[in-house]
């Protein structure tokens, strides 16, 4: 006799499959924050594309760079960059604040306090920002 297992799948996802509405996260600020945090990855990706296009425009010559600079100054680009900037800062903020929880550093047997790691993260952020700012404003 053969036994039918139905639509057998690993972990039996069909046994109990409650459906939530797509906007399940909208009712609670903590969930909205979570979705906003995950959304920051879109801003990061957006800027990665812009940065490649920026270098590409320079490599194509002065006209291409002028055209790209003009696009950068367009209302659409300014709007996109404004929103992306807020998300990028939110990404940095949430990332650095989570870091001490995700990565526990020990010196000998002592745990390095969270505030020290947090401070080091923010100091590094400031340092990198200052160096990049200096490079791009002095060349």
């Amino acid at each position: 006799m053969t036994v039918s297992y139905g639509r057998y799948k690993k972990y039996h996802p069909w046994l109990y499959q409650p459906r939530h509405p797509i906007l399940w996260w909208i009712k609670k600020w903590a969930y909205v924050r979570f979705i906003l945090r995950e959304t920051t990855s879109l801003a990061v990706m957006f800027y990665a594309v812009v940065l490649v296009l920026y270098v590409n425009a320079v490599s194509k010559g002065p006209e291409a760079f002028a055209a790209f600079s003009e696009w950068l100054a367009s209302p659409l680009s300014i709007s996109l960059h404004s929103v992306a900037f807020l998300f990028a800062v939110f990404h940095s903020y949430t990332w650095f604040n989570l870091a001490p929880k995700a990565m526990v550093v020990r010196v000998g047997t002592k745990k390095v306090p969270e505030s020290v790691i947090l401070g080091a993260n923010y100091a590094m952020w400031a340092g990198v920002s200052i160096v990049l700012f200096w490079i791009l404003t002095t060349i």
């Binding site: 490599s59 990332w95 952020w125």
Partner: protein
Amino acid sequence: MVKRSNEPFWWALFGAGGVVAALTVPVLLLLTGLAFPLGWLPAPGYEALNELFSHLLVRLAILVIVSLSAFHWAHRFRFTLYDGLQIKHLNAPVAFLCYGSAVAFTVLAAVSLYTF
């Protein structure tokens, strides 16, 4: 034999991208996307940028930033789709699409930056 999971590999790229993006994206985006186009600060001209990007190390640094950022996006976006849209049954195609995009973007960026 248990099939070894490749999740740690993607997670490592996600983590590295998270750090790199957190450190570099806000300042770069603020300068090239807002401060320069809006005239808050004098924008570097074509000659200066051409000189800056002519250094291979600078382009390599840019490639590291954009590629790791893409893998960071891929991992986060994958799980946002997974949890947000409740498409757990599409796990494999979604993962393929997200990581595949990051790989494709990295290749395009590498070619574009190499042939500067």
